[in-house]
Symmetry: C2
Subunit: 282 residues, 2 copies
Amino acid sequence: MKESEKNMIYIGYLGPKGTFTEQVALSYFKDKKDYKFIPFPTIQDLLLAADKQDITRGVVPIENSIEGAVNTTVDMLTFEVDLKIQAEMIIPIGHNLIGHKSFKLEDIKEVLSHPQAIAQCRNYLHGKIPGANVVFTSSTAEAVREVSSTVGPRVAIGTVLAANNYGLDILDSDIQDQKQNETRFVIIGKESMQRGKSCKTTLVFSTGNKPGELYRVLNIFSLWDINMTKILSRPSKNKLGEYVFFIEVEGHVEEEDLKDALIMIRKKTSFFKLLGSYEVFE
Amino acid sequence: MKESEKNMIYIGYLGPKGTFTEQVALSYFKDKKDYKFIPFPTIQDLLLAADKQDITRGVVPIENSIEGAVNTTVDMLTFEVDLKIQAEMIIPIGHNLIGHKSFKLEDIKEVLSHPQAIAQCRNYLHGKIPGANVVFTSSTAEAVREVSSTVGPRVAIGTVLAANNYGLDILDSDIQDQKQNETRFVIIGKESMQRGKSCKTTLVFSTGNKPGELYRVLNIFSLWDINMTKILSRPSKNKLGEYVFFIEVEGHVEEEDLKDALIMIRKKTSFFKLLGSYEVFE
């Protein structure tokens, strides 16, 4: 390690260059002097690296307004790593049709992108290039990279950042079916965050094989007047009908009421894990 | 239409031949005399055909014990078609590594399958063929078909039925990371089912932009002593933090208590849709 790299803070994002997570990493960690940005091929690789402290912090998507939970992120944070959510960032997702301007839309034979991006542009593709084959890739940026590798009647769905990186043209923009399309990203790391002015807390718990028990747990929040802002269900991976609930409430875990409520919830659940309290910026 | 086709009942399943839904369709509709099985390329196409009554009934996956809700099915039933769940069938999902016996596992360059099957075998692939490229396909059967089309160092993840259909070898079986892996399929159609001995009812509702309101709705079930057996959350597609809850309870909608509870829930929710009552077979 060079002397100059000693105080480096390593920030992981989902590569290759030009993904939405790179966009979030660059905008959240603005003062780039001490930051080194490291691309990872998958969410799994990134979270495992952060867990082993090969990187200091990482950026991963956790929820999209159309497609719902990003399952790998939620499941890894729940079952496989010991990391805290330190901040969140919500950005609008605009998909672009990216390719070589020399081809007409009606001649396009293949559309490449990540399955979530394809799903979000389903009606557009059906209407504009119904005959084109769909090819899934590991990220939207990877799709753009592949299309840039040869000149042919192929297009990718991806970001403006990726189109610029790989020297391709934007053939159409905002092509997602639901115009209001947002993704929530979280910044993760080993440390817990201090209590701030306005905080949120994320936790996961399981009620075992009684989905009806969820009502009792929500009742505890209600008794303590704690406002729930998010609830996602995920399978517990044991058997059908067993769930893990991923919940977000207002407040910091060091605040008296929330602390008391969580003590009680921990007793009433078969599995409980605190994923962190972090400040909310409006 | 031939005279012999007049009384045909058309059953839709997800093609090509050899998928899990074909397996379910063949086992649920056993008396094949009057049934004609029609393959569809996607869940979307199948549900739209059932909605237009081009087919009488259809089979689609709705939930997996590892990967959770099958989003397309849940979202289409909620927002885009008017169909009833008429029955359910749960089957164990065993994934197989399928290819040409002439190649050694260590020489395999490419693994093809549906993204959900790839996700379910993530650790196996990482351990056994770490260098192989992953290629996503639209179904597991499609992956098997592609691998069968040329002789090369490629494998697919799919069903025994598909391996047999396309004349390929089973190189390894039960390769999914979680040995207990089940998928729940539903039989859908236009008609509501009669009240039977032991029934379940599926409904979806939205609490608008207040996730905390979920507690009030679950309270209604609790007041009427109605047992909830399943709860899934999906985004409402409007904005982050707005959810649709997909809930299953014991009882038939014609039973007095459930009828009363649902009248109240309909009043307390911003969106409400009944997806059907159907008999449970143990």
